[in-house]
Symmetry: C2
Subunit: 341 residues, 2 copies
DNA sequence: CTGAAAGCGCTTACAG
DNA sequence: CTGAAAGCGCTTACAG
């Protein structure tokens, strides 16, 4: 393994200054009126010896890293894994790399992660934020590091956001259930004040209220693991009398289905079921499970596009107003609510 | 946002040299016999003003980045997402960050990724390698960047490896099917010469041969998307007469189940089914699907442990022999093969 | 015990 | 059109 070449090695070999090499490397040859002939000579030589500028040194000097920090709730959750995959594809295509981590919705952990990311001069952020992150997010933005939030907004933070209409999509699912004749509709949500959870709960509550139907809401703490969630839902099923059940996230639904199957409850005869976020499990379950489907690819694409726009636009545009993009969900009606698919 | 402090700001404020500050920062106070009193004074001040050394500058100087490169086939595949999650947890706990990417088993893409990672001075690598990556992997190792392979070995590359016994786990599944009375056993695998695929196919082939049973093997190119996979399997089901079917990966199984359900084939009455890699889909399907289960957490833990060991051990140990860790799978027998769970 | 200085590999204002 | 030099923020051999 030969030693890594540096820009001064190149300059020395070619008997020119590092300045000239650097200008050529950074596409400033025109601007600096370096002769076409010299440019060609340098480029040929660089290709020949396989020289690559050290991006770390460049970052130290310029303050830019071409790295994007991605903070999701949990990379092993199919919703977030799907988003991550699409963001990654787009970012790499534009020459950006992704440093990622799972927050577990843990505020302290997230703070540390942001500190570490800042420390690595991460250029910009795409974040599904836990509650209470206002100060850190605003500090990031003030420091000139653009932040795109997705999945949930954070009060007091004025920045780009990509999400869905949680209130309406949930309300529509409840209305669909009511339309099918279900009257005792329960909901399993997270005990969380995050915007997306609040909106999903409120959509459920208001849709019921409109028809003067009773609420049966269970809120489960985020930290509980799968088995604990199943147990909590099992207990809930003991205590309520319902004929339909709406889950506020995909993993609540997965663990809820475990509890339902264990109790040998017939879907949809004894209990109709609706999940939030579609995935293979719901499609291939028997009966298949109705799901409120988020447009994962579009969410990812909108998030990375907004971020790259901020990152690549000239300085003076940085202060432009923050954008919000609300994408459409679709309600996939399947057998679990009397559908035929 | 106040300007970021540097080590010389600290030194100046305290009227000492940057050397002393640096030694204290790096835990060399003892070794350099700096007075306890001074150490305390410096630490107190640093905490007070919230100074954090710039890790980029440190990396440039030391050649270490505390970043691990993780290359998986596809982060949205639950098997790899699960591994990624566990590796991440362990790495962050030890002060390492993760730069990740999905290779899509694409050799050219993977080469570029490795080049980009090297360029960022990534300290070490955990890789599920595509075919043909020998040269790049060996170059990495020669350059002193440890590499841990997982899921599949690469011929001609002598380095740490974590995996399972693909041959035996597949053979056992086939034997189980034979034991249950199935005699016309098919297999859907990838058209791939990767070690794990070859071993799974061979396990299937040899187990059948032992009982003088015929093969019904379909090999599907990696690049095909879900719909194409389902279609290929649908066609396969048209052309063979089988009573049991083994899938070589989780997404082959998921797409195969789609085809099977569409054809309204009764599981296990008309067709028994076994998947590779367990996940929620197989557990919650009705009937539930028998799966060869990989120990995801253990694979992740072994991989990151081996890498950290190389990364943190003193120089002279670097040349120590490469390790191989083969972990146990378990065959989860469910209703799709006549089980009762 | 502590400090002045070189150097990691770049970029860029300044000067010619 | 091109170059010498400062500086990004660290670490560490060398000297005292």
């Amino acid at each position: 393994m030969k030693k890594k070449l540096s820009i001064s090695d190149i300059a020395r070999s070619l008997n020119i200054s590092v300045t000239t090499v650097s200008f050529i490397l950074n596409g400033k040859a025109q601007e600096k009126r370096i002769s076409d002939e010299l440019v060609k000579r340098v480029q040929t030589f660089i290709d020949e010896v396989g020289y690559k500028p050290d991006s770390l040194a460049r970052s130290l000097r310029t303050g830019k890293s071409n790295i994007i920090g991605l903070l999701v709730e949990d990379i092993s959750n199919p919703f977030f894994a799907g988003i991550a995959r699409q963001i990654e594809d787009n970012a790499y295509r534009k020459g950006y790399k992704i440093l990622y981590s799972s927050t577990d919705n843990d505020l302290e952990k997230t703070r540390e992660l942001i500190q570490m990311f800042r420390d690595r001069h991460v250029d910009g952020y795409i974040i599904a934020a836990p509650q209470g992150l206002e100060a850190e997010l605003n500090a990031l933005i003030e420091a000139g590091r653009p932040v795109v939030l997705f999945d949930r907004t954070v009060e007091g933070v004025d920045t780009d956001y990509v999400g869905i209409d949680n209130y309406r999509s949930t309300a529509e699912a409840v209305q669909m259930l009511i339309g099918q004749g279900f009257k005792k509709i329960g909901m399993i949500s997270l005990a969380s004040t995050q915007s997306q959870m609040k909106d999903r709960r409120q959509g459920y509550i208001d849709a019921l209220a409109e028809h003067k139907l009773p609420e049966h809401l269970l809120e489960i703490p985020f930290t509980e693991n799968g088995e604990e969630i199943s147990a909590a839902i099992d207990q809930y099923l003991d205590s309520v009398n319902i004929d339909a059940l709406l889950f506020a996230t995909n993993y609540l639904a997965v663990n809820g289905l475990r509890a339902i199957y264990r109790r040998n409850i017939a879907i949809p005869k004894e209990l109709a079921v609706v999940a939030f976020d579609d995935n293979d499990v719901f499609e291939l379950s028997n009966p298949s499970i109705t799901a409120i489907t988020q447009p994962v690819a579009d969410i990812a694409l909108a998030s990375i596009s907004m971020l790259l726009e901020r990152l690549t636009s000239p300085r003076r545009d940085k202060a432009k107003e923050s954008q919000t993009e609300i994408l459409n969900t679709s309600l996939k009606i399947r057998r679990s609510t009397g559908g035929t698919e």
